[in-house]
């Protein structure tokens, strides 16, 4: 049968499966599925926030005379009752030393006390140095303390910013760290989505087998088309779910996260391309792992058998994830390249590469490689299905069974 006919037949099956799934009441539960871990996250996040509120506040070291510090600390104490949400930054004084730079450096790297920053220059020319954002909560609080202390002393308010701030510039190390973080996040997202969604393919042919519809399908279309149709349907259903979840997630980011995606560590290929790659590699990962699962699940004739298969299948996914994560942070290492070549871990490895390396051509190559393997796995799965389930041709035998038969 020609390829277009196989594709046409696959779409007929995909349309049936897709509508049967998406229009069922249970699909709503599928869409709401991610809400459960999110709800748990909120609960535990709330507890975490409570713990944080109750924990000792961050400390800023003030390098000043005892008199200046007393005024600043008094200002802090006057403002403290107003801070109900979170405790104010704690202040700690040290005497100025002759080498101010060395003293500042020493204070910032102090292991004795978690120091958020160092305030120098007293109330007249205050200067804050620290690993904070310029308009973040810590700097704002320090501004308030200084303003309050000045007003209390009837000192003139300084126009503009009362505190000059020095922030550390980003380094190559911090960029690498950020990309590494994005690579791991990308892999994790891909892994979680695949493990959640591809497992469903294990039981895809059980319905047809138990309803005896498989005979109707197998008489009308090639088994390849049945497998491909099932794969397309579940991929489309997964993409519907992902679209809903991503939209909800994007809305949440827009509402709650300042700067949206821009606030997250940027991947090497940029956010638009990275998101596109995540979608592509999810599809490929789904098709590769899904085709394998479909083939394995097609051998099962009962739900019980499928359930028994679920555990080893899930564990194999974890192994694939582990294999791909070996190469994160070292994209040109043997581990990373090996994971990119091995078909089932390739999408995970390539998502990490998209976060870490700017070159686009390896992705074209990898996608073509993955498509080829989807076709190979599907062909193999349908051939095994025809032989072992439909009993067409000589039945499948393990090597030792073949020897015995001979």
């Amino acid at each position: 049968m020609k390829l277009p006919e196989t594709i046409r037949a696959a779409f007929v099956i995909a349309r049936r499966d897709f509508t049967a799934t998406v229009l069922s009441k249970t699909f709503l539960f599928f869409l709401l599925g991610p809400l459960f871990p999110i709800a748990l996250g909120f609960i535990f996040g709330g507890i975490g926030a409570q713990v944080e509120r109750n924990a000792a506040p961050a400390t800023v070291v003030v390098v000043s005379s005892p008199a200046d510090f007393a005024q600043l600390n008094a200002a802090r104490n006057r403002l403290s009752p107003l801070a109900t949400e979170r405790p104010l930054v704690a202040l700690h004084r040290v005497d100025p030393e002759p080498d101010a730079d060395a003293q500042r450096q020493r204070l910032l790297t102090s292991a004795d006390e978690p120091v958020l920053g160092v305030l120098e220059g007293g109330l007249f020319s205050p200067h804050f140095t620290g690993a904070v954002t310029a308009d973040g909560r810590t700097v704002q609080q320090m501004k308030l303390f200084v303003d309050e202390a000045r007003q209390h002393q009837a000192m003139p308010l300084t126009p503009g910013l009362p505190i000059s701030v020095t922030l550390t510039r980003s380094s190559s190390g911090s960029v690498a760290f950020a990309r590494n973080l994005t690579a791991r996040a990308g892999q994790t997202i891909l892994f979680v989505l695949t493990i959640l969604l591809a497992g469903m393919l294990l039981s895809q042919l059980i319905e047809e087998k138990s309803n005896k519809v498989i005979e109707v399908l197998a008489a009308a279309v090639p088994v390849d088309a049945i497998f491909l149709g099932k794969l397309f349907a579940m991929l489309a259903m997964s993409l519907v779910g992902i679209t809903v979840w991503t939209s909800a997630g994007a809305a949440a980011v827009a509402i709650y996260a300042k700067g949206g995606l821009g606030a997250l560590p940027p991947p090497a290929v940029g956010w638009p391309a990275f998101l596109f790659f995540i979608l592509l590699y999810f599809s490929m990962s789904y098709l590769l792992i899904g085709a394998t699962f479909l083939g394995i699940g097609a051998q099962a004739s009962t739900v019980r058998e499928v359930q028994t298969l679920s555990m080893p299948v899930t564990m194999s996914q974890v192994i694939l994830f582990g294999l791909a994560s070996l190469g994160v942070g070292k994209p040109n290492s043997a581990e990373a390249i090996g994971a990119a070549i091995f078909p089932l871990s390739s999408p995970f490895a390539m998502v990490a590469r998209a976060a870490e390396q700017e070159a686009l051509w390896p992705h074209v190559l990898a996608l073509a490689w993955q498509v080829l393997w989807v076709a190979i796995i599907l062909k193999l799965a349908s051939a095994i299905f025809r032989r072992s389930v439909l009993k067409s041709g000589p039945g499948w035998r393990w090597p030792w069974q073949r020897r015995k038969a001979a």
Binding site: M1, R8, A9, V12, I13, R15, R16, A20, S24, E207, E208, N211, K212, V213, I214, E215, V216, L217, A218, A219, A220, V221, P222, R386, L390, K391, S392, G393, P394, G395, A405
Partner: protein, 315 residues
């Protein structure tokens, strides 16, 4: 009769399952536009033969041609198939199920829906259209599947045990549907273990027993393998006229039964009259398909199908 076009052909089909031979050299020729019955007891290999012909499974050896193609799925769009084990998605609406089966065989889904409604309406079942399959009775679901088998207007219909599970009324309706399809030029192949259906419908039959072809040809040809049976009842218990009876003549329930001798009825009649046998009743019966089946496939196969000869029954 001119040279007919062949709709389906099988030559020496063999199928082994796990080392066991299920079909052993079955051959079959189905002329276009004919109704052909495949007869045999359960487990004879009928379904396996049909599945090989349709390309669901490949034969271990032998060849097949379906509408001129040796790869049957290439002509799936021109074939309709009702499997022995009926299969429909329980949640699907009836009209949708019919359209889906058409779509599998290349019929656009919208056209399939339109035809599904029309087919249901023709049979007075338009109220089924929006009913999910799971709400239908077994017979209703079977009708829906049958309509799904013909919705794409195939050239060849293959029905595997289509009468199984149907009540008498629905069996009659199905027989009429098969006749209608045949009248429209569609070739019909069906398997059955009920000889009466084949006798009423078929022009040709293939008899399969224990995986092997026992007979393949026209129904009349099968019948002509047997001599007509003479049923004779006489007033005289014995007499010289008895020597005119063939050696195979048996007395069953006060009646003589034997195959009509090669020389015809005249010498027998003369001997009976001359010998004062006192003929009470004399009839010559043309053998039915079930007699032919017993003669061809054997008593054991007939017993498995629930058909036994009068002699065997009496014994």
């Amino acid at each position: 009769m001119g040279e007919s076009v062949i709709a389906a052909e099988a030559r020496d089909l063999v199928k082994d399952f796990d080392g066991k031979r299920a079909v052993d050299g079955v051959s079959l020729t189905v002329p276009e536009g004919s109704i052909t019955g495949i007869l045999g007891p359960n487990g004879a290999g009928k379904t396996t033969c049909l599945r090989m012909m349709l390309g669901i499974i490949d034969p271990s050896s032998g060849s097949r041609l379906l509408l001129g193609h040796d790869r049957p799925l290439e002509v799936a769009g021109e074939v309709g198939y009702l499997p022995e084990e009926r299969g429909l998605y329980p949640a699907m609406l009836s009209a949708e199920a019919i359209a889906f089966m058409g779509a599998l065989r290349g019929l656009p889904i919208a056209e399939g829906r339109r035809r599904a409604i029309a087919l249901l309406k023709e049979r007075g079942h338009e109220d089924w259209a929006k009913k999910p399959i799971r709400t239908l009775s077994k017979g209703m679901a079977q009708t829906v599947q049958l309509l799904g088998t013909i919705v794409h207007k195939p050239r060849l219909i293959v029905l595997d045990e289509p009468f199984a599970g149907l009540d008498a009324l629905n069996q009659e309706k199905l027989e009429q549907l098969i006749r209608d399809q045949s009248a429209a030029g569609v070739t019909v192949i069906f398997s059955t273990h009920v000889i009466a259906h084949a006798e009423r419908l078929c022009e040709r039959v293939a008899i399969i027993a224990e995986g092997k072809s026992a007979f393949e040809g026209a129904v009349d040809e099968a019948r002509s393998r047997l001599r007509p049976i003479v049923h004779l009842r006489t007033r005289a218990e014995d007499g010289p006229w008895q020597s005119a009876l063939p050696p195979s003549a048996k007395k069953v329930g006060g009646e003589w039964r034997f195959e009509l001798p090669e020389g015809g009825p005249e010498p027998l009649l003369k001997a009976l009259i001359d010998g004062n046998a006192g003929i009470e009743t004399l009839s010559i019966e043309r053998p039915g398909l079930h007699d032919a089946f017993i003669a061809i496939a054997g008593e054991a196969a007939a017993r498995e199908m629930g058909h036994v000869s009068a002699e065997a029954e009496a014994a």
